[in-house]
């Protein structure tokens, strides 16, 4: 039961983060929010008995993707980025 409530909370955070990603003023914030979505996803994967996936999502989906994003953002110098 605790697990289920935890999952629901995590799911809600994920969705709110996803919405944040779409509404954030700056692209950086959006990228960060989507990184958090991935990060939470990897926690849920652990709960769903998928440690391999959790690891991959954390390392690649949330980690590397966000890093690549930031690299590109750093190359684009604009006020709204």
């Amino acid at each position: 039961m605790v697990v289920i409530i935890l999952t629901i909370v995590l799911g809600l955070v994920m969705i709110s983060m996803a919405v944040t990603a779409l509404t954030a003023q700056r692209v950086r914030a959006a990228v960060l929010a989507s990184g958090i979505v991935s990060l939470i996803a990897s926690i849920i994967y652990l709960l769903l008995a998928a440690p391999d996936v959790a690891m991959t999502e954390a390392a690649i989906g949330s980690g590397l993707t966000t890093i690549i994003f930031f690299y590109v953002l750093n190359k684009i110098r604009r006020s709204d980025v």
Binding site: V3, I4, T7, I8, G11, M14, I15, A18, V19, A21, L22, V27, A30, V31, S34, V37, S38, A41, I44, Y45, L47, L48, A49, A50, P51, D52, V53, T56, E57, I60, G61, L64, T65, I68, F69, V72, L73, K75, I76, R78, D80, V81
Partner: protein, 123 residues
């Protein structure tokens, strides 16, 4: 309450993320935000797949001391979707990287990130 399983929560969250991601991909004007929306879309997809692999009360498909080596098909969750998700995640990062590179070069040609500014081929 009978629907309130871990699997269903995962599925619903995943579906919502898919829809949110698609909505973002179709409405955002900034190319980078469109790419962000697609990563959310991907995350939703992956979550759905993993949720489908889950069976209540079973453990991750890794043989160790606690699982023993018999009757494993009654102890493990489904390993196949997990393998698929792994692939899907890696594909996702590849596609995102490529899209971002395109975005970078597009910005270079027009000094703009608005998708509406890239319509030189049409009709």
């Amino acid at each position: 309450m009978e629907y309130l399983t871990l699997q269903n929560i995962g599925l619903v969250t995943g579906f919502l993320l898919i829809l949110i991601g698609l909505y973002g991909a179709l409405t955002q004007k900034n190319i980078l935000r469109i790419i962000v929306a697609f990563t959310i879309f991907d995350a939703g997809l992956n979550l759905v797949i993993v949720a489908l692999s889950y069976i209540k009360g079973r453990v991750a498909p890794i043989i160790d001391q606690t699982t023993g080596i018999t009757n494993l098909s009654e102890k493990f969750v489904d390993p196949v979707p997990q393998a698929l998700v792994l692939t899907s995640i890696v594909i996702g990062v590849g596609v995102t990287g490529v899209m971002l590179t395109f975005a970078l070069r597009m910005f270079k040609t027009r000094q703009s990130l608005d998708i509406n500014d890239f319509k030189e081929t049409k009709w």
